[in-house]
């Protein structure tokens, strides 16, 4: 360990890991970081559809199998086609990410690849299964027997879960590394299973998985909610909206509980990250939580303090002692304001979305009807983009909060980076490429939307 904090006294040691490819020049850190973050910001929202959409269209297909109502079939078919397109985009953006492990962070992979690599091998299997069965599912409509067709969808759902699990084992390990020994700066005796399943993976998995359902559910519900508000109140639109909304509304309250679990794990395993969530400079007993404001010189300025709330949130005890950012030297602190702001955004959005979900759930449960207020539908249209915002903010919280380490307390991000040149050029190119990719995908989704499935059903029965 580099740092041995004793109260607020700090003992700094030399960097413990020697990179397997030697020391790097570090001059490329900024573009590499930006490129990595950009790539994630494109990949992660798309894969939410790989996580959550299959369960939704299978649910709708199940309704069709039970009732025989063609509206359900039309909807499930439509959604599965969209899922296939988004899957393709997920595949290409995911491929970029795997290349980036080598193109941007060769020393990280060279040094620790044996410790965490197994997870990606298993991930590859998951995505293989997903690719195979989603193709059979989509191209098999009307060609496979009904029950077989439904069953073919199930591996897609499972693979979305196991695929996320394996990726997140790696991230959980980077945040809470274990499963190897350091001898004279060399990583030896790697124990992949200990490494992967002993880290912070479990809260990350549940939190990310639910986030997928919230993002997709609210985006879908918002899309059909807009049509609803415009007066298109047919069975198709109503079903589509309610299915999306139900998945998202059920996930939203649970997400807050899981977020609390995440925060408590971070408090225990990464105290400096937790301190950055709040901007807590000095170690404090009964630490307050500030709303708004900004962090500067070890304290929050211009924020509203809620006494003891941070202690309560982090340890479920209003008088618990919370470690401050200043327990580690300047060089070992993450950029507090970035982490804090994104954390605040995530938590605010999470609370608002929970309220929105509960509004729907309670009415539905008690009165068996949809909300009548147009404001509900307006809020619903905003909810999807907000959930996306929370998703990205959450990842910024986790990843930037981990800085300056790539492997928490073992390897600095600057040690991991490539010595290759031209990264700004690559970054510029990728900005253009991603912009084109997003534009093209948006174009395609609009194209799919313009051939309306709903219009066709009433005429044909």
């Amino acid at each position: 360990m580099a740092i041995v904090p004793i109260g607020d006294v700090v003992l700094a040691a030399v960097d413990p890991v020697r990179g397997a490819l030697g020391q790097t020049d570090q001059e490329h850190l900024l573009p590499a970081r930006e490129l990595q973050a950009l790539s994630f910001i494109v990949h992660i929202p798309i894969v939410c559809f790989g996580i959550a959409f299959p369960a939704m269209f299978l649910f709708v297909e199940g309704l069709w199998l039970r009732t025989g109502n063609p509206v359900y079939k039309a909807l499930a078919k439509r959604w599965s086609k969209i899922a296939l397109v988004l899957f393709a985009v997920g595949v290409v953006t995911g491929t970029i990410l795997s290349f980036e492990f080598g193109l941007l962070w060769p020393n990280f992979t060279a040094t620790f690849g044996d410790v965490f690599g197994l997870a990606f091998a298993l991930e590859g299997i998951s995505f293989f299964v997903e690719a195979i069965f989603i193709a059979i599912y989509v191209y098999g409509w009307d060609r496979l027997p009904r029950r077989t067709h439904f069953l073919v969808g199930i591996p897609v759902v499972i693979a979305g879960l196991t695929g996320s699990l394996t990726v997140l084992t790696v991230n959980g390990w980077m945040n809470n590394p274990r499963g190897f020994d350091l001898v004279n700066g060399k990583v030896v005796n790697p124990q992949p299973f200990t490494a992967l399943f002993g880290g912070n993976v479990w809260h990350e998995l549940v939190h990310m998985y639910l986030a997928g359902y919230m993002v997709v559910g609210f985006l879908v519900a918002g899309y059909y909610g807009r049509r609803w508000l415009k007066g298109r109140r047919d069975h198709y639109t109503r079903t589509a909206m309610i299915v999306g909304l139900t998945f998202a509304a059920l996930a939203a309250p649970v997400q807050v509980v899981v977020g609390d679990w995440a925060a408590r794990t971070v408090a225990e395993k990464q105290p400096v990250k937790l301190a950055s969530f709040e901007g807590l400079g000095k170690t404090t007993k009964g630490a307050p939580f500030h709303i708004g404001g900004y962090y500067s010189d070890g304290e929050i300025r211009a924020g509203i303090a809620v006494p003891k709330l941070l202690s309560l949130l982090a340890f479920h005890d209003p008088n618990a002692t919370v470690k401050g950012v200043e327990t580690v030297p300047e060089a070992d602190r993450p950029p507090v304001n970035v982490v804090r702001t994104s954390f605040m955004v995530m938590v605010s959005v999470g609370s608002a979305l929970m309220a929105l979900g509960l509004w729907f759930l309670v009415l539905w449960w008690r009165r068996g009807r949809l909300p009548r207020s147009p404001w509900f539908y307006r809020a619903l249209m905003a909810a999807g983009p907000l959930a996306l915002l929370a998703l990205i903010s959450g990842w910024v919280t986790t990843e930037v909060g981990r800085q300056p380490w790539v492997v928490y307390k073992y390897m600095r991000t600057e040690q991991a980076v490539t010595d290759a040149d031209g990264l700004w050029l690559a970054f510029g190119v990728m900005v253009v490429v991603y912009a084109a990719l997003i534009a093209a995908t948006g174009w395609l989704l609009r194209r799919l939307a313009s051939t309306s499935a709903a219009d066709e059903i009433p005429e044909h029965g």
């Binding site: 080598g102 690599g117 194209r447």
Partner: protein, 356 residues
């Protein structure tokens, strides 16, 4: 066999699968590119679209498989390769984005101009990706990747005779494989004109690939003598000969319109090349820089990896068999639709009205 060797064999098997299956998908792009004007080319393009749609994503995953096995089992080699060969690899991954997206979108194009723009992107990037990946492999095989973080030359490591040769071979081999498969698919789809068209292409590209492969030998001999010296005896030589025989057999089978068998022999030709390459490079993973045993991760990791892959294979193999069986039986076949005629207004054939 040591664990490292088993992992290497698996990785090479994955690479072969990618070269054969993914390579054919890239090759289909070449035929798309050269199909000609909208009128005549539309039929060929429709065939490419129809054959590739259900399988290309699964075929692509082999590449991911190779990469993750490489970084898990041979992390230092992975870091060295990716940091030195960053230019071709970056270009290849850029091409992968464009190709995949353009292909997925083309199926939804509604006007001829959209279809043209997307088709051109799909087809041209289909040439670039195998070329750059082949060039990267050529850089490795000719010993131009040293161990270290971007310590090799970023340009001459892939702009050299061996790399250019391997890149070119990757493109033509893919084209040949694609033509063989597409000819077979045309028979199944009962489109005799397509069968003739792809049969002719399979023959031409097969001859080009064969000539290029023979022409490659003197280039390797002068540019990569170490590699070449592994090919002139023993397993290396046997593989080269086997590959040539398989290639010739493929041509004969194509002439005879026995496409199912030609599929197998054309794939076998690629398998033989990969085996020959591995034999020639033995015992090095990065020639002159790193042996397989030096590069290998510890036995716990390799055993874990093999265990994981075994479990994975138990799931994956039946799944793949199921997919390809459905594909080859035609269950997943989409109605064949030439890529130009969609844009001619036709009566909608929505029998059940649910097809959105």
């Amino acid at each position: 066999m040591t664990l490292a060797l088993i992992c290497l064999v698996l990785m090479m098997a994955g690479l072969t699968a990618y070269a054969v299956l993914g390579g054919a998908d890239f090759g289909a792009g070449l035929w798309d590119l050269t199909a000609g004007g909208d009128e005549g080319g539309g039929r060929l393009r429709g065939m490419v679209q129809r054959s590739m749609s259900p399988v290309w994503e699964a075929n692509h995953v082999w590449l991911i498989f190779v990469i993750v096995v490489l970084w898990t089992a041979f992390p230092v080699a992975f870091g060295s390769v990716f940091s030195t060969l960053y230019v071709p690899l970056f270009l290849a991954v850029g091409g992968i984005i464009f190709r995949g997206t353009a292909f997925a979108l083309r199926g939804q194009a509604a006007t001829i101009n959209e279809a043209r723009a997307l088709g051109a992107t799909f087809a041209s990037t289909s040439l670039l990706v195998p070329f750059f990946l082949g060039a990267a492999l050529g850089g490795i095989a000719s010993g131009r990747v040293p161990v270290g973080n971007a310590t090799g030359d970023p340009w001459s490591s892939w702009l050299n005779p061996t790399s250019l040769t391997v890149g070119f071979l990757a493109v033509v081999t893919g084209a040949h494989l694609a033509a063989v498969y597409l000819a077979g698919d045309s028979v199944r789809a009962e489109l005799p004109d397509m069968e003739r068209a792809f049969r002719a292409r399979a023959l031409t590209s097969g001859v080009v690939a064969g000539v290029a492969a023979i022409g490659a030998l003197p280039i390797l001999a002068s540019d990569a003598p170490d590699l070449f010296s592994g090919l002139d005896h023993g397993l290396g030589l046997a593989s080269v000969v086997a590959s040539g025989l398989c290639g010739a057999a493929t041509l004969a089978l194509v002439v005879a319109s026995r496409f199912a068998l030609a599929r197998a022999t054309s794939a076998a030709a690629v398998v033989a090349v990969v085996i020959g390459w591995a034999a020639a490079q033995k015992p090095d993973l990065l020639p002159g820089a790193l042996t397989l045993e030096q590069a290998a991760a510890g036995d716990t990791v390799l055993a874990g990896l093999l265990g994981g892959l075994t479990v994975g294979a138990l799931i994956l193999i039946p799944s793949l068999v199921y997919l390809y069986r459905l594909v080859l039986r035609g269950t997943l076949d989409q109605a064949y639709e030439p890529m130009d005629q969609r844009f001619v207004p036709t009566p909608r054939d929505d029998s059940d009205g649910e097809d959105a």
